[in-house]
Every structure is written in structure tokens, then in C-alpha cells.
Amino acid sequence: MPGLNASLFLGLSGLQAQQSALNVVGHNIANVNTPGYSRQRADLTANQALIQGQVYFGTGVTLNAVQGLRDRFLDLQIYRETSRQEGASERYTGIEAVSTSLGDTTSSGIAAQIQAFFQGFQELSARPEDSALRTNLIGKANTMISGMQARYRMLNDQRDNANQAVTSLVTEVNTLTKQIADLNREITGELVPGSNNDARDQRKSLTDKLSTLVGISVFEGSHGEYQITLDSGLAVLVSGQTSFDLKATPDATLDNNYYRVDSLMGTTTVNVTADIRDGQLGGKLDLRDRILVDFQQQLDTLAAGLASQVNLQHRAGFDLNGVAGQDFFLSGVANGANGIPALMTAANAYKGMVNALTVNAAVAGNPKLIAAGGIAAAGDNANAKRLANLQLDGGVNAAGVVLGASYSSVVGTLINDVGTTAQTWEAQTTAQENLVSALQAQRDRLSGVDLDEEAANMMILQRGYQASARFLSVINQLTDQLVNEFGK
């Protein structure tokens, strides 16, 4: 039979255990709103029994461990899907910012301005002698050009915005990976594997944040350390206790001297600009280097086709002085035989065409030089009509740039393209949002703090503490009985 002292210690272990467990409850409640926090549970175990003869006497309770409740595979899945959600939403936001103006179907849209320009030729065909109509046509050409340039500039502004975000995102990524590597060190150094719950939660919260910034794949090593690579797998960001920085450097080979992103892994430097798929950084780089560029190329090609065919037809006509027509449009340097500068070709998607496009200053300064006549006669309008009819088929003169479709359907394709791309990323964003939200709900179900549950636990532990104290007081009375009353 255990002695009274043993019973005192048994009661004490009860008191201590309930109090420690209450402490865990308090920690849970305190962290109810902490991002990434996983609820903890006190792991109470009965002490080794005292054997006397054939009887096993209990010796109380010990708090064995404080266990964090988490599903690490679920965490890894959440990181990946969060990256994808951020990437999709970033792209969608970027496209939506330009889509309304680019896809303007009203009279202020590109399509309407191009049509107005060609209708200017049609109007001129009714009165080729009329200098007011000629001046008016130059005005319409300028409106059309500035309309296209405004759209082009808007796309450039969006690309610039994306580019400006690159440096700050890279800095943030580097700070986070460094912190995660530090936490990896703490976790691998823990005395009992799995005991450093709060470092794990902190790391989870940081990795959650990292996954919104850049597309990542996370693996957990055998010692609980995170290995983090880019989603394309091309570069390592965190390996155990070491983090590898990303670096943004202006690169002259990119448009507008945009930033190149390098991964600095020891002595090797890898250019990962095109290999970050998701997260805000991946989304921004994709917008900057692919999605918006594609729209710009469509505008450049449209401008090249238009300028080339108009110039060739304009050369075939005669101006009001009876002289053969010059080029109607110029693009910075002299036009070649195909009506546009030789350095702008299909191979480089006529890059820079929209920005360089102007009405030939000689023609703009003297609208008499507009070649409306098919012959050298003031009243002849044959060339004006041919110029106006270019809008029907986009021009089929094989010596120039042939778009293969009317200008309005080229613009229609662009609008459709913008709309479809935005729609795709919008759907993707919603789907990812739903997925991440479902995964988070699943994570909450296991790891989240439920205040009702904590309140119930608190009551139970309080009662346990009270009972243990009561037990101690009974043992105390017994001891008192034994020491002070016995043998009186």
C-alpha cells in the first residue's frame, strides 16, 4: 500500500497536470485568430504503477507532450494551390485593367476609328477637289493613330507596373525564405521530433505568405525541414537551413530594360525569369512578357498591314497637282517597297510599328498631296475609292503586308482574344479560390481552435484541478489525523 506521502505526490501530479493542460487551453484561446496556428492538445498519461506484491498502485499523471494537430500533406497542397490562385488572379486583374479600353466596341474604339479613317477616303471620293475634306481625312488619320497608340501605351503601362512590382516581390521572397530557413534550423534542432509546434506554425504562416508571392513546391524532409523549390522545379529557394536568394537585374535584352530574375544558388546563377509560373511574381512576369505582349503584337501587325496597303495604294494614285502619290504613312524611317520600314518584319511581329506610325508630314502639311485620283485629273476619285475599299478586305496587294482579313475582323479577333483570355483566368481564379477555401476548411476542421471546445476543456480541467486539490486536502487531513490526533 502506498504511503500518505506517495498519495500527496499523486495529488500534486494531478494538480500540476491539470494546470499545465489549462495552460495549453489558454494558449489555444490566445491564438484563436493567429494565422497558421494549429491547435495544441495536452497529452496526459498515467504514471508508471507502483507494484506491491500482486497489486499495481497508480502514481498519478504526467503531461507527456504538447501535441500540435496538423496534416502536413494538406499544408503542402494548400501552398501549391494558393500559388496557383494568386497567379490566376494576378493575370485576371492585369487583363481586366486593359480589356475595357482595348475591347471598346463603341465609336471611340479602335475599330470605329479605323473605319472612320477609311470613310474619310470615301467622303473624299465624292469631292476630291475639296480641301476641307482632305484636311478632315488627315484629322481622322491622326485620331486613328493616336487611338491605337493610346491602347498600346496603356498595355506598356501595365507591363511597366508589373515590372516595377518585380523588385519588391523578389525582396519579400528573399526575406521570407531566409526566415523559413531559420525556422528549419530550429525545427531540426528540437529535442524531441515534432515538439516545436509554434516554430512549425510560424513556418507554415510564412510559407503560406511565400506561396502567394511566388509559385513554389514544398517537400518536408525526414527531420521535419522544408525543401522549397520554384514551381517549375528549376531553382531551389530553401534547402534545409540554407536559403538561396532571387535577384532582379535590369536586362538590356528585354523590352524597356525590364528586370531579369536570377536564382543565386551558391556559385551558379540561373535565369528563372520564364520559369516562375504562379504566385504574384509568376503572374506579373507572365503578364509582362507574354500576355500583354501578345496583344501589343496584334496591334503592331494591324498597324503594319494598314500602313503598308494604304501606302502602296496611295503611291499608285495622283494628287491634286497631278503628281504621283507619295507615302501616306511614315514610321520614323523611310518605307521600303512593301510600304513599311525594312526593319519591321513579320519575324519581329512588326515591333514598334504602332508607336512609330505618323501621317507623312509632307502630306499632313499639304493635304493636296493626298492621291485621290486614279489619273492626273482634279476631279478623278478612282484612287480614293480604291483606298476606301481597302477596309473591306484589309488589302490584298501581295507586294505589301497582307493581313488576310478586314481590319474590323482583325480588331474583332483582338477583342475576342482579350475577352477569352480574361474569361479563362477569371474562371481559373474562381476555381482555385473554391479549392483553396475548401482545403482551408479542411485544415481548420483539424487544426483550428474552436472556442466552445476550449471552454468545455477549461471546465473539465478546472473541475480536475478542484478535485485534485480536494484530494490533497483529504490526504492532508489524514496526515493531520495521524500526526496530531493519533494517540492523544
Binding site: T105, Q115, A378, Q440, G448, A455
Partner: protein, 305 residues
């Protein structure tokens, strides 16, 4: 089965749903206030391209209507000039007939010379008429020189060219808006001095009257008849072209109404639908806010003493 259901999870999911409801409400509000079903291309990319296409056709047709009006603005004055020339020619015929009458006598014939002269001058100015800054009968030499010129008594020469000017009035058809002067006043290209040359007939009539030569007057009378029938023919032709243009305008305007309808079905907000959707969302929003506010009110801690 019981699943741990956390207030935070609940709040997060409700918040997501609430944001989506608000987003839908904002989109519907834009649809209602602008009247456009498509507020951005991603709402319906195919319809956005279609709307552009319809809009393009509508504008093209509007431009063709304007071209038809321009054509009419040239054809109408041309017809007026030809009609005036016909009136003058008829008067000349009357004078020739009087000149041929034996009762006229040499003095009577000489008295008619002045009127013939003045009609000749007026015919010449008709042939040199300008409309909207253009010589109407100079072919494509619309800015000069004057199409017809010559001495007061001698033959009149043509200085314009024989080109026609046409305007496109649909994508496939065009209409000539001028008649080269030689055809109207000489009867044919290079018809100067021929039997159908109106000015030659007038000059002959004048000379016949002045010289009291009935044979010359008779010849001039016959030539005036030919010139008159030529003018009548052109008048009918000009009238025909104008009638054709008016028909075409009716057709194109009718076609545009159809196109506009088609564009509207793609573009316009379906108001009953949009308003119904908006109201539903409003109810959802109110109910959500209400339950959100309530769900956080009760907790076991409320009952712990």
C-alpha cells in the same frame, strides 16, 4: 457524425460568398445603368466581336447612305441644267419655225438674231455651270479650264476630258455622278460640228436668220431637233439614276434597321432579367449579413460563471 465546425471557417466562407454576391450586384448595376449587357469583353467575348461586326456594317451602310446623298447632290443640279437647256432649245426651235415662216420677212428674221444670241450666251453659261466648286460638264477636269469656250459667233470648243466620275454607293455597286460635256452638248465624243452639236445648230440658226437664208435656218431647225432629243435622253437618264439611288437608300436604311436589331439583341441589357437578378442578390446579401451577425453572438463562454 459530428464535424468540428469553426466560427472562423464559417465566417471566411460566408465572406467569400458575400464578396461574390456583391460582385454580381455591381455587374448587374452597371448593366442596368448603361443598358449594355456586355460591360467588358470577358462577359461574352464572342458577342463582343459580333457587336463590333454589326456596328461596323451599320457604320459602313450609314456612310453609303451619305455617298448616295452626295451622288444625288450632283445629279440633281446636272438634271436642272439639262432641263434648262431643253427649255432654251425649245425656244430656239420656236424661233427657227418663225424664221422659216414666209410671213417673217428679212427684217423679222434679223430682229430675232438678238434673242438667239442671248440664248446662245445663256446655253454657254449653262454648259459651264459649277456645282460645289466643280465644273459639272468638264469630265474629271472639274477645276478648269472652262469646259466650253469660243468666239461670240464662231464654233464652240470643248476643253474638258471625257472621263466619268463614279461614287461607290454599296460595296458592290457604284453610280456615275457626271456626264462628260461633249455627250450633252455635242451629242457624242468628238461630236463638235456634227448634226447633234447644239452650239453649231445655234450658230447656224443665227447665221441663217442674219443672212435671211431659209435653207440654213431649215438645216439648223433639223439639227436643233436632234440636239433636243439628245438632251431629253440625258434628262431621262439622270432622272433614272436618281430614282435608282432613292430606291437604294430605302433598301440600305431598311437593312440597317435589321442590323441594328441584331446588334441590340447581342448588346442590350435584358432589363427584367437584370433587375430580377439584382433583387435576388440583394435578398441574399441581406440574409447573409443578418446570419453573419447572429452566428457570432453565442458561445459557451457566455454561460460560464
Amino acid at each position: 457524425m459530428s464535424v468540428r465546425t469553426l466560427a472562423t471557417t464559417q465566417q471566411r466562407q460566408t465572406l467569400l460568398a458575400l464578396q461574390r454576391t456583391k460582385e454580381r450586384m455591381a455587374a448587374n448595376q452597371t448593366r442596368i445603368s448603361t443598358g449594355n449587357r456586355i460591360t467588358r469583353p470577358s462577359d461574352d467575348p464572342t458577342a463582343a466581336a459580333l457587336i463590333l461586326d454589326f456596328g461596323n456594317s451599320i457604320h459602313a451602310n450609314e456612310q453609303y447612305l451619305k455617298q448616295a446623298d452626295s451622288a444625288l447632290s450632283f445629279l440633281k443640279p446636272t438634271e436642272d441644267v439639262v432641263t434648262a437647256a431643253i427649255d432654251q432649245t425649245i425656244r430656239l426651235q420656236e424661233l427657227a419655225q418663225r424664221g422659216l415662216s414666209p410671213t417673217a420677212g428679212a427684217t423679222g428674221r434679223a430682229a430675232m438674231v438678238a434673242e438667239v444670241d442671248s440664248i446662245r450666251t445663256s446655253l454657254l453659261s449653262l454648259a459651264n455651270t459649277q456645282s460645289q466648286g466643280k465644273y459639272m460638264f468638264g469630265g474629271t477636269a472639274t477645276l478648269g479650264p472652262q469646259p466650253f469656250s469660243g468666239p461670240a459667233a464662231g464654233p464652240i470648243t470643248y476643253n474638258g476630258d471625257d472621263n466619268t466620275i463614279s461614287l461607290d454607293v454599296t460595296s458592290t455597286s457604284s453610280v456615275n455622278i457626271n456626264i462628260p460635256g461633249q455627250l450633252v452638248f455635242f451629242g457624242s465624243i468628238g461630236g463638235q460640228g456634227s448634226n447633234t452639236d447644239l452650239f453649231q445648230a445655234v450658230t447656224d440658226l443665227r447665221d441663217g436668220l442674219a443672212a435671211d437664208n431659209t435653207a440654213t435656218i431649215q438645216a439648223a431647225y433639223d439639227h436643233l431637233k436632234l440636239a433636243l432629243s439628245n438632251l431629253n435622253q440625258h434628262q431621262a437618264d439622270l432622272g433614272g439614276r436618281q430614282a435608282g439611288l432613292l430606291n437604294l437608300k430605302d433598301m440600305v436604311s431598311g437593312f440597317n434597321v435589321t442590323l441594328q436589331d441584331l446588334q441590340n439583341t447581342q448588346q442590350d441589357t435584358d432589363y427584367p432579367q437584370a433587375i430580377a437578378d439584382y433583387n435576388t442578390d440583394q435578398i441574399i446579401q441581406q440574409a447573409t449579413l443578418n446570419t453573419m451577425a447572429r452566428s457570432n453572438q453565442t458561445n459557451l463562454f457566455d454561460y460560464l460563471g
